[in-house]
């Protein structure tokens, strides 16, 4: 589904990713862990196409298409979902209005008919219930006045509504209390655990991985994947720290 080959990227002339390679197949959950400054967030932004993140080498193919050639909104329509570490507040724009337009824009690019207001509300209500987010929250402006945990749950509601093929979740577990972590973890499983879907979880901690069990765990350090293993690698990291595990 996603094939990253020898990816190099920089921000304002400073190299961050230095030859990163990674293959994610349909049906798989991959976790990327790594110390601060390793390039984890940069990887997610490069894959999402954020302006200012310049790719200087390598390639990324998504479902057989050249991802790096696509505009950010085209990547979304192709089935890529980027979960933000810091979801953005948009005053004056309601969640319902935002998500309905987003979904219908994606459907249009895929050649599908738009959903009516009624159909959309039914879908949104169902996904909000899955994440235990009050429907009233979706009538409010996008992320405005939401707590950290509410923002992350709202992100997962967005993911449920947009129904992507590949979710790249950048520290979706940060800012969550234990109950919210379980709700979000179960939400990710319900929405994304399917033979034709895949997840790339970027996280600092092992705890989210107790709910969303990864098939592979990678350690990202110095802009490259330096070690790959199974779920036991995350446990070892938690126990021994990055320095010890990477040295082993």
């Amino acid at each position: 589904m996603l094939q990253i080959t020898d990816l190099h990227a920089e921000i304002a002339g400073k190299p961050i990713l230095k030859g990163l390679s990674l293959t994610v197949n349909a049906g798989e959950v991959h976790a990327i862990m790594g110390p601060n400054g390793a390039g984890k967030s940069t990887l997610s932004y490069v894959l999402g196409g954020r302006p200012g993140y310049e790719v200087t080498g390598g390639s990324v193919s998504f479902e057989g298409q050249d991802l790096l050639e696509m505009e950010p909104h085209e990547r979304a329509a192709a089935g890529l979902f980027l979960g933000f570490q810091y979801p953005v507040e948009i005053p004056g724009v309601s969640n319902v209005q935002f998500l309905r337009e987003a979904l219908n824009s994606q459907r249009k690019l895929r050649g599908h008919e738009p959903l009516s207001g009624g159909e959309f509300l039914k879908l949104a209500t169902e996904k909000a219930a899955l994440l235990k987010l009050d429907m009233d929250m979706l009538k409010r402006h996008v992320n405005v006045g939401f707590s950290g945990g509410e923002k992350k749950r709202a992100e997962m509601v967005q993911m449920g509504i947009l129904d992507p093929k590949l979710a790249i979740l950048d520290e979706t577990d940060s800012g969550l209390d234990i109950d919210a972590l379980r709700v979000v973890g179960e939400g990710i499983n319900a929405i994304m655990r399917a033979p034709d879907k895949a997840v790339l979880l970027i996280t600092h901690y092992q705890r989210l991985l107790e709910y969303v069990r990864p098939d592979y765990v990678h350690i990202l350090s110095g802009g490259r994947i330096v070690k790959t293993g199974g779920p036991e690698l995350a446990l070892a990291l938690e126990r021994e720290g990055y320095d010890a595990v990477m040295a082993a």
């Binding site: 302006p51 909104h73 933000f84 953005v88 507040e89 724009v93 935002f98 337009e101 987003a102 690019l109």
Partner: protein, 252 residues
């Protein structure tokens, strides 16, 4: 009859005006409105493109008297003409209220402006003005707003808010708030900001599948919506919003 002498940019109220576009325009053509005590009046003015008609100058000059406890609400969109200007002079009686909501949009080298003078002549009157300007190309949007509070007009509550959104380099907005307060027990608030579209919001919206145009339209809609929040007629509000947003869609 036309004024013999055209105003110049040295006149404070014409400081950012396209004065050269005033030739042949009847400057004495003031419209007078009287809102009797306890009565309400609402007016919406939309200056938009008329298919086939040549572009030029449109000037609306309006003098409003609002009697004791009366209400006047004016809402306007300036979305056409090389030079469009709405001037409003309002005199408020005791406990009277004035609401103004204005939006300017435009590109190329057009100039669109609101000039208001709100005179709190008697105590306890309130006024609230909200202007939002969205410009691109070499377009200019201006809001020159004067608030005068007479010596005995205690308990006056006046507010003025201006925000400009520049979509391209080369566009400009000017805000000139002027407060002349001669009473001591009054509230007068004013604020003015200028900015660009929020890049973080644009990327967030793109990451959810919105095209740059759709994201911009939603953000601009939210931005100009402030000017019409006080208008409690949904159809009228939509009509004003559409006039402004359609201009943006057609010309950018």
């Amino acid at each position: 009859m036309s004024a013999a002498v055209l105003p110049t940019r040295k006149d404070e109220a014409w400081r950012y005006a396209a004065v050269e576009a005033l030739r042949g325009v009847d400057l004495d053509d003031w419209r007078f409105l009287d809102v009797a005590a306890g009565e309400s009046l609402r007016d919406c003015i939309v200056i938009e493109d008329r298919p086939g008609a040549p572009e030029g100058t449109v000037l609306h000059r309006l003098r409003v008297n609002v009697g004791e406890g009366g209400r006047c609400e004016l809402f306007a969109v300036l979305a056409a003409e090389l030079y469009a200007r709405i001037e409003v002079e309002v005199t408020l009686g005791r406990g009277a209220h004035f609401t103004f909501g204005g939006v300017t949009v435009g590109g190329r080298d057009t100039v669109r402006e609101f000039v208001t003078r709100v005179i709190h002549a008697e105590p306890e009157a309130t006024s609230s003005q909200v202007v939002r300007s969205v410009h691109w190309g070499q377009g200019t949007g201006n809001f020159l707003g004067t608030i005068e509070v007479a010596r005995h007009a205690q308990k006056t509550d006046a507010a003025q808010s201006f925000k400009g959104l520049l979509l391209e380099k080369g566009a400009s907005v000017n805000a000139v708030p002027q407060l002349e307060i001669f009473a001591d027990d009054v509230k007068c608030a004013h604020g003015a900001t200028v900015g660009q579209l929020d890049e973080a919001a644009r990327f967030y919206m793109a990451a959810r599948g919105l095209s740059p145009e759709a994201a911009r339209r939603l953000l601009v809609r939210a931005f100009i919506g402030d000017a019409f929040v006080a208008l409690d007629d949904e159809a009228a509000r939509e009509r004003l919003m559409r006039a402004a947003l359609d201009k943006l869609d057609r010309h950018l």
